[in-house]
Amino acid sequence: MMSKIQQEDRLNLAPKKFNMWIFIFTSFMFFAALTSGFIVYVGGSSAHGMNIKMPDAFMYSTAVIMLSSLTMFLAARAAKSSQFGKQRLYLWLTIMLGVAFFGIQLYAWSYLVKNGIYFSNPNASQSFIYVFTGMHLLHIFAGLLLLANTLWRSYRSIEQVKNLYSVQMSSIFWHFVDIIWIYLYVFLLLNQQ
């Protein structure tokens, strides 16, 4: 009886996928709270502004992560049509682009530090840049773990249902962190002066 139910439960994947969608809402609320916090902070005094130009590195990282969304999409399409070789290739590409994004963001931080914009800063608007990008990097890190898990599973012979489920889960999340980055970048650009 119990094993029967566990069997059933294991294949009941649609509600679990729905869990991911709700998690995305939670995550979105988190970033919405941070950016609203920024708006409230800046509104508090005319002296509170970012007063810098965003480093060019952010432009490159944006390009990289958008490209990774494309490869993620291709991986998901390959998974749907059971082309596992292609699926693995695109997953590898997505992960590598993700790592590259991570690297570029860190480089952007070092650039900011070199120009005297520190995290620990009496002007918290500038600290907010680190908070936005740092919290986003945490999500990128989680996404990379998710992708690595999907890739690892695709090398073991698991049922196609579960392979597809795994790909879709990481794909939903990866597109989300991509979109969140674009949102954050646009937000930073609009507020940089």
């Binding site: 119990m2 139910i5 988190f30 709270a33 600290s127 919290m135």
Partner: protein, 630 residues
């Protein structure tokens, strides 16, 4: 499902044949790391109750200080050691007691204890689901909650005591480790505990929403769900949307505490001489982020209690809930409005008066759905065939507290009156009645009502009555006088305000309130004894002890993983067909098809069902012609 029969048939050689699929029920995976929602519900309930008793004892401790500010109690020093030197409560420890009492009650008891218990128990059982969307996440949610509880309590063991800046942890007290004794290690533990707690609530909430939207049994459309599930559903949505905002606030707070940023800090001087290097931060920013969660949080606390009371009152009045749709829409109204009223906690922070006016209007609008609910409860009781079970008494008590506490909300929601009333005992009285007592009574109603479902035994009714009357009268005696103290300007959270010349006369009231609190606390022992005794030695529960319509009473009394031994029942009607005219009994369970109750069907039972309606008209006209023949 047909394979089930085969399974039962072959139990004897089941073990050796399908060894690889069979998960043995060990002590560890049945009682400790259980993934069964019913066991997780019990875990939440018992942990929540333990936390409630602890928080109650904390409140008695600070009540003793308020009643006898000059007296020394040697026993207190024996029990509390350095926190009560010479038998008198330390003033910093008083603040810690107030803070941890609030934190535990709001988050650990009335959020996790209440939602955790009843969402886990009722969502699958009342919707006809075998288990949650992700049982594993559900288990994790409990264990995060448990660890958070342990960490919160462990802050009593650190040298300088627990966090003491109030449960709202406003900076700078929470942001500067040196600000007061409780701002050091105690505050750090508070933050760690709350982060784990929020993770637990998010995992739980995500699971509840997903289960309700995806896994209902056949026939259970949204408008056939019991109000308990509606309330728990909207509560989960509130939690999922508002807790992340608190995380954001807490993340920035942690940066201020440990990384030297200045999000919330500005122009700080410690001990009169030490100038701190923080500039330009805004403590009000934290309040915005905190109350954006904090206000929905009070509805996270009260809405499950509302759902439980609606269900319990309908069952025990033997009447359909009055205005089922209105009840749902008012819950939705409260959910939506709760996100746009947070500013009423901040009227006196120097907020723009125009903005204050906006928040005042949105706040007062909440009175509308609240009043809809209150009138519907009263109308449900009106001319009902009331059965005064313990659960019913507590549900009625919940309505009483909600009314008397809600009325003062109208005063407090007013930006102008708030100048006088903010941070006084008037506020304390208001929220202890409207969300403290009301939510606790809703929770107790649920415990009495669903105890047979959880433990397969009945609770003692007489002890239940004793518990109810002592707690009900006690709670009013404790909180009602506080209104008058607040109107007189007595501030909350003060260690010994009766030492002020102008407030001296309140000492006698304080003594009275403390003894009333002690009486209500002692009354809880009746509940505790009843609860534990009934688990082991209570009367065995029948299948459907309250003659209720909902699905949970169709499951076997003995629990099994998966809830229903055979196929999951199909649902044919809404859950409130009590005392339907023409019906054989005064209740018709949701699993009874309309075709079996021809004599009680009404035309509106067949909305969107033309075939059924045709059958119904045929049947009624046949009945009429039979009458004529007679």
């Amino acid at each position: 499902m047909s394979t089930l029969a085969v399974h039962d048939h072959g139990v004897a050689h089941h073990e050796d044949d399908h060894g690889q699929h069979h998960h043995k029920a060990t002590f560890l995976n049945t009682y400790i790391f259980s993934q069964d929602h019913k066991m997780i519900a019990k875990q939440f309930l018992i942990t929540g109750m333990a936390m409630a008793f602890i928080a109650m004892i904390l409140s008695i401790l600070f009540r003793i200080q308020l009643a006898y500010p000059d007296k020394a109690f040697p026993l207190m020093e024996t029990l509390l050691g350095r926190f009560a030197p010479g038998g008198r409560l330390d003033s910093n420890f008083y603040l810690a007691l107030v803070t941890i009492h609030g934190t535990i009650m709001v988050f650990f008891v009335l959020t996790a204890g209440l939602s955790g218990t009843f969402a886990n128990l009722l969502i699958p059982l009342q919707l006809g689901v075998r288990d949650m969307a992700s049982p594993f996440m559900n288990m994790l949610s409990y264990w995060f909650f448990f660890i958070a509880s342990v960490i919160m309590l462990s802050s009593f063991l650190v040298q300088k005591g627990p966090a003491s800046g109030g449960w709202t942890i406003y900076p700078p007290l929470s942001a500067l480790p040196k600000a007061m004794p409780g701002s050091g290690m105690g505050m750090t533990l508070w933050l760690i505990s709350m982060v784990l707690f929020i993770a637990s609530q998010l995992m739980a909430g995500i699971n509840y929403v997903s289960t309700i939207l995806n896994m209902r049994t056949k026939g259970m459309d949204l408008w056939k769900m019991p109000l308990t599930v509606w309330a728990l559903f909207l509560t989960a949505i509130l939690g999922v949307l508002s807790f992340p905002v608190l995380v954001a606030g807490v993340v920035l707070l942690v940066f201020d505490r440990s990384f030297g940023t200045s999000f919330y800090l500005s122009d700080i001087v410690l001990n009169g001489t030490q100038i701190q290097p923080f500039e330009g931060g805004s403590p009000i920013l934290f309040q915005h982020l905190f109350w954006f969660l904090g206000h929905p949080e009070v509805y996270i606390v009260i809405m499950p209690a509302m759902g439980i009371s609606s269900e319990v009152m309908s069952v025990n009045s033997r009447k359909p809930i009055f205005g089922y749709h209105a009840m749902v829409y008012s819950l939705i109204g409260i959910t939506v409005l709760s996100f746009i009223v947070w500013g009423h906690h901040m009227f006196v922070t120097g907020m723009n008066p125009f903005l204050g006016g906006v928040f005042m209007i949105t706040t007062l609008i909440i009175a509308v759905p609240s009043a809809v609910k209150t009138f519907n409860w009263l109308a449900t009781l009106w001319r009902g065939n009331i059965r005064f079970t313990s659960g019913m008494l507590f549900a009625i008590g919940m309505v009483s507290f909600f009314i008397s506490g809600g009325l003062t909300g109208i005063f407090l929601g007013n930006a102008a009156l708030d100048i006088n009333l903010h941070d006084t005992y008037f506020v304390v009285a208001h929220f202890h009645l409207v969300m403290g007592s009301a939510a606790i009574f809703g929770m107790l109603a649920g415990v009495y009502h669903w105890f047979p479902k959880m433990f397969g035994r009945m609770m003692n009714e007489r002890l239940g009555y004793l518990h109810f009357w002592l707690t009900f009268i006690g709670a009013y005696l404790v909180f009602f006088p506080m209104h008058f103290m607040g109107l007189d300007g007595v501030p909350r959270r003060y260690y010994a305000f009766t030492e002020f010349e102008s407030m001296k006369q309140w000492l006698s009231v304080n003594t009275f309130v403390t003894w009333a609190a002690i009486m209500s606390a002692v009354a809880q022992l009746a509940f505790l004894f009843n609860f534990i005794h009934s688990i082991f030695w209570g009367k065995k529960a029948p299948q459907n002890p309250w003659e209720s319509n909902t699905l949970e009473w169709t499951t076997p009394v003995e629990h099994l993983h998966g809830n229903w031994p055979g196929e999951i029942p199909t649902v044919y009607r809404w859950p409130y067909d009590y005392s339907k005219p023409g019906a054989e009994h005064d209740f018709i369970p949701q699993t009874v098809p309309l075709s079996q109750t021809m004599s009680s069907n009404l035309p509106h039972d067949f909305e969107d069902n033309p075939v059924g309606l045709e059958e119904h008209t045929k049947w009624t006209s046949a009945q009429k012609s039979n009458e004529e023949v007679k």
